[in-house]
Symmetry: C2
Subunit: 309 residues, 2 copies
């Protein structure tokens, strides 16, 4: 039983000891040392080379090294019949919620203004409302959106979530579909994007979306760089339609030197660190799906490629 | 029935409409327009001039405009027999917890490092653990400490609180007294000060306290400037015993121009904004205590001057 490991950003050295300890019978092969491609049963990947997965004739299951699978579905040669599973790790979910809450609180408490004032040595109190008076909208009603939503609500924020399909989750206000999209935006002084990247959501953070937010709203994108139309964000900040943005993800990563986001006074840039994979907790979750497959039991977090997540 | 309003930082214009609307029979006099001092029944104050309260011969009750009363007890001429009450407003408690959580998350998620890297255009992921692996210690086991502690615990942090006297609060780990002080410090990678300022707690954030924290710990002071020995903090940062500090309060406020805290790369300065008073919610709480006094019912949040809070 052989697994191919291929990540364009992560080191196999972080993963191999955990996989080997938990499933000694699994032979872990590190790309590009594939050996006989016909021997590969499983592929654990982040942004694999186009065609790589199609070159494995006996591939049984594709496992994503992240919560999203856009980096796999983008492959034009993706073998159609092979099931794909996403990585849903509560440790990563917790990390994402920490990130989202830090950034929501930063914007809510006018921290960019206070940082700029400290640089200038200015002591000045700004008007401040409480979390209960602050509308926060979360795009994405999956594991990540729900966890962040629940925790933000626990801190008192006036939270609502939006997803593609109507969903009822106790204690969370939900919006769904096209009509509700504008309703969610209209109440979101802080908008958080935690959507999967699909053809429908690509570029969803654009000028017409920003125009439906309350004037002076702020944006947090912790999903994918391709959700955002960069020029529309810059224009919205320039016109004060938006007051600030916090971005963890970008069209090209690392964010290229010289990109205007780096030096923009109203943009916080973080290097895709909202929710890093964590092999000690993720390896057992990944191997559980392999054991399920081997035993013919239902897979967890299987992706519907037509839906994109 | 007359109330004297005197604040060295707050405007009476924010308070008077709320007081007048809720208790029309109360005549609100704004310092220094006291009129006949013998007519003043109540004093609502923040840092009143020494001797002011003693000059009111028929004063029945002193009401603090903040959670602390150190600014009243410092008056050497404070009339001994007049009861004093603190302001405990859930709106302010929520605001304080927002501030504390923002700053704890900022330190936990290495935000100072990421901000400095953005300024230099550096894309670099740092090792990051989750909240559950981060020890947070809160000095102060009152309303503020308990609320912040509960909310931090809800986000997964490994929280413990320390107070002067042993206290048992469901779901919160408590330490008390001198011996436990070092135990609390030893587990606190992030230390939050929410103590009342008393002769016992003045200067409690000093070199010997810092020496008991894990190396590289960080400090948040949202209580009073006099809790901190400024030079000891600067020395602890210089030696890397501490990695960072977030300060909302200072010995002199506004923080004087040229003070080294303003430009220190590892110190966040905010202008005493953690939990501003909020007249719409605070006025009814203040007037409730006046009504209680008038009716001979027990006061809420009465201070023991010998204890200092």
């Amino acid at each position: 039983m052989a697994l191919l490991f291929r990540s364009s950003v992560d080191s196999e050295a972080r993963w191999k000891p955990h996989l080997a300890r938990l499933m000694p019978e699994l032979e872990v092969r590190i790309w590009p040392e594939i050996g006989d491609p016909a021997e590969i049963d499983y592929a654990l990947v982040w942004r694999p080379e186009p065609g790589l997965l199609a070159s494995l004739p006996n591939l049984k299951l594709i496992l994503s090294l992240g919560a999203g699978v856009d980096h796999i579905l983008i492959d034009p040669h993706l073998p159609g019949g092979v099931p794909i599973v996403r990585l849903v790790d509560p440790y990563m979910t917790d990390a994402m919620s920490e990130y989202v809450i830090l950034q929501v609180l930063r914007l809510h408490r006018q921290d960019l203004d206070y940082r700029a004032r400290q640089e200038s040595g200015i002591w000045l109190e700004l008007d401040q409302k409480n979390a209960a008076e602050r509308g926060v909208g979360i795009l994405g009603f999956g594991e990540l959106g729900q966890d962040a939503g629940r925790k933000l609500k626990g801190l008192g924020f006036d939270v609502a979530l939006w997803g593609r399909r109507p969903k009822t989750v106790e204690g969370l206000r939900g919006y769904a579909g096209t009509t509700d999209f504008s309703a969610l935006l209209g109440r979101s002084e802080i908008l958080v994007c935690l959507l999967p990247l699909t053809p429908e959501t690509e570029g969803i953070l654009n000028a017409s979306t920003f125009a439906m937010l309350p004037k002076g709203a702020a944006l947090i994108n912790a999903a994918r760089g391709a959700h955002l139309v960069d020029e529309d964000l810059l224009a919205a900040l320039a016109s004060s339609r938006l007051s600030a943005a916090v971005l963890d993800v970008f069209h090209d990563e690392p964010l290229p030197a010289g990109h205007p986001f780096w030096r923009h006074p109203r943009i916080i840039v973080t290097p895709h660190i909202a929710a890093a994979t964590h092999p000690p907790t993720a390896a057992p979750i990944i191997l559980d799906n392999i054991r399920r497959f081997e035993a013919g039991r239902p897979l967890l977090n299987q992706v519907d490629p037509a839906q994109g997540y």
